[in-house]
């Protein structure tokens, strides 16, 4: 197994289009690292530079101790899984998994050993002699994973491997890939645009936007302490709510609504010169409460809102409403019935709220 080190990596295409810049990251041995971000943020380009499918314009890439910028992809000891889990249609599962090894003239008994091992890991033993046509979508995706496992590579690179699966299967395969990683302990770099996938699978995640790293951290770190408004809105579903207002005394004021800010936060904002200035308050949907007990103890973060839409999701209800003319989404417990059109009291849990600088969009720490 091996870690990876990306030092000052930059990718510039012809005609000066820069896709990735100033990318510095150490990926630890056995880590499951997820690159996440919207379309065009440079996450797939980064993965393909690691794979050797794209040239690196500037910077150094190390796999283990070895600088591999000029090493051919086939010699980098990596295995790749892509979005399309299509297989060779004429070949059965065994041959699909064995094909890349046959191309490399590996001995038959070694190929058999590796394919049998991958089939056992992926519970594909009883399907080895079936053609792809006779497999379900999930089984085909497992074969695609098997095609990577047989390489016995130092590093797995996965580019949106679940995005062509339906929602139910995606959840199932998410767990399968995690189990696989726990079992094989192979360093894995996984690319996705789906923040749920990133949050649930990553040892650490890297949030990217427009070619730059926005934040690196464990899912919990990134969720609880987002470095900027982009990360705060990208990670979490429904996204964090942003309220634009001013800090006046101990209150965050938006229109005629005043919200009490905890003393420690007020001090931090004051120390950094935000007193009387416009700031952005970030509150996650689950930190907006309607439970009577919470409302009783939070009289100064409470406000009244008319619910425009209430979506019952089962254990919770997603509420869409406005306060001081600004849209927000709340996620509340479905034990307390809320219906569309109803007016009710809600309160922010300000101990979990964040403040952002309106001009730089950075979190005020």
């Amino acid at each position: 197994m091996a870690g990876l080190n990306l030092v000052n990596i930059r990718k510039e295409y012809d005609k000066g289009v820069v896709s990735v810049q100033d990318f510095n990251l150490e990926i630890r041995d056995k880590e499951f690292l997820v690159l996440v971000g919207p379309s065009g943020c440079g996450k797939s380009t980064t993965l393909r530079m690691i794979a050797g499918l794209e040239d690196i314009t500037d910077g150094d890439l190390y796999i283990g101790e070895k600088r591999v910028n000029d090493v051919s992809p086939k010699d980098r000891d990596i295995a790749m899984v892509f979005q399309n889990y299509a297989l060779y249609p004429h070949m059965n599962v065994y041959d699909n998994m064995a094909f890349s090894l046959k191309l490399r003239k590996m001995k038959k008994d070694e190929i058999k050993k590796r394919v049998d091992n991958a089939a056992r890991i992926l519970n594909l033993e009883e399907y080895l002699y079936r053609k792809p046509k006779a497999l379900s979508g999930g089984q085909r995706q497992r074969v695609a994973l098997g095609r990577a496992i047989v390489r016995d590579a130092e590093v797995f690179l996965m580019d949106e491997p679940l995005s062509n699966l339906d929602a139910k299967l995606r959840v199932q395969m998410r767990a399968e890939i995690q189990k696989l990683h726990q079992r094989l302990q192979t360093t894995t770099v996984y690319v996705t645009h789906d923040q749920t996938e990133a949050m649930t699978m990553a040892t650490r995640l890297v949030v990217m936007k427009a070619g730059f790293i926005q934040q690196v951290g464990t899912p919990k770190e990134v969720y609880d302490l987002p470095d900027n408004m982009f990360v705060a809105s990208f990670i979490g579903s429904p996204a964090m709510n942003f309220f634009f207002g001013k800090l006046e005394g101990n209150y965050f004021v938006m229109g005629d609504q005043k919200i009490l800010v905890p003393q420690g936060r007020v001090q931090t904002l004051r120390d950094q010169g935000f007193e009387g200035k416009e700031v952005v308050l970030g509150v996650r949907p689950e930190d907006i409460h309607d439970e009577p007990v919470f409302l009783d103890v939070s009289p100064e973060t409470k406000f009244r809102a008319k619910i425009e839409v209430a979506e019952l999701m089962g254990a919770e209800i997603i509420l869409y409403s406005q306060v001081a003319g600004q849209d927000f989404v709340a996620r509340v417990d479905s034990r307390f019935n809320v219906e569309t059109g109803q007016s009710l009291d809600l309160a922010f849990d300000m101990s979990k709220a964040h403040f952002f600088d309106k001009s730089t969009e950075l979190r005020i720490k």
Binding site: P38, A86, P89
Partner: protein, 296 residues
């Protein structure tokens, strides 16, 4: 002659399509009768190799030997004028698919072997050089077989190589096959300069090809007159390009760009206010798209 040589070199093999790839532990030659023969390298001293090269043509095993079908297609394309041999048995429409791979990363032999496994029946492949060529597809692809996008992913994971495909338009008959062959290669090279997609069909390529024909003055004027003050606003141009590529669908574009629908509406309204162009209308979106291509 082959039998005489076999007496001297017992390892001599005659290559047929049935015995698959050419073994790299053999030295391969082409005879005057176009047979491909191989002799184990261990059996050949330098002197033997020099002697054999005097009356046989050393066969480059980077390229797979041409099948009969490939030879027929090549002959048809190489004919300067007029229709191909009337014995050429193609009844269905056909199309040429240009492919390109990173240089020096895999041999054509590997690519050929892997690619053939993705089609219903063997497909003729004509190589331009070690990293480019044309696949000849007769009839249409069956739904049970991978799309060209899927083929790229399969081949990338097996061969570790970046591949692009340009899918030419369907043709019937052979009257202009030579011109068609060269136009597919020429068009492919043009369109991949404009787009970073890995699979581009001829229909997708039409706007690129049109813009490529425009003279520099017209291209400059298009950018200036259509995009106006947004000509260097990369964020707006990215938004407009995504909007066109998402079939002018607000929700899809917003999702793709990770923007709120309202923010996108606002930005489209702003573009309309400043330029007078409502890109929600197809006939107004098209010139904007062409102007963006002209700028590339």
């Amino acid at each position: 002659m082959i039998e005489q040589l076999r007496k001297i070199y017992p390892s001599l093999l005659v290559h047929t399509n049935e015995n698959g790839n050419l073994d790299t532990s053999y030295k391969w030659y082409k005879t005057a009768a176009n047979a491909i023969i191989g002799i184990q390298k261990a059996e050949l001293a330098d002197k033997d190799q020099a002697l054999l090269a005097a009356f046989l043509v050393p066969y480059d095993i980077k390229f797979p030997p041409m099948t009969e079908d490939e030879q027929r297609w090549k002959k048809a394309i190489d004919q300067a004028e007029g229709p191909a041999d009337s014995a050429f048995p193609v009844l269905t429409p056909y199309r040429f698919i240009y492919f390109s791979m990173n240089k020096n990363q895999i041999t054509p032999v590997f690519f050929h072997e892997a690619l053939q496994e993705l089609f219903e029946k063997p497909v003729p492949i004509l190589w331009e050089n070690e990293s480019e060529g044309i696949i000849i597809e007769e009839g249409s692809l069956s739904e049970d077989y991978p799309s060209y996008e899927q083929m790229i992913d399969i081949l990338m994971s097996d061969l570790y190589v970046k591949i692009t495909f340009f899918v030419g338009p369907y043709q019937k008959g052979f009257d202009s096959i030579r011109a068609y062959y060269h136009s597919v290669i020429r068009d492919a090279k043009k369109v991949f300069a404009y787009s970073d997609k890995t699979v581009i069909t001829y229909i997708d390529a039409v706007p690129y090809l049109l813009i490529d024909q425009a003279d520099p003055a017209l291209r400059q004027a298009l950018g200036k007159n259509v995009l106006q003050e947004f000509i260097d606003d990369e964020d707006t141009l990215k938004m407009l390009e995504t909007f066109v590529q998402s079939n002018l669908n607000i929700s899809e574009t917003a999702k793709e760009l990770h923007l709120h629908r309202n923010s996108l509406q606002y930005r489209l309204d702003r573009f309309f206010e400043k330029t007078g162009i409502d890109v929600r209308q197809f006939h107004q979106a098209m010139p904007v798209y062409l102007a963006m291509l002209a700028k590339k």
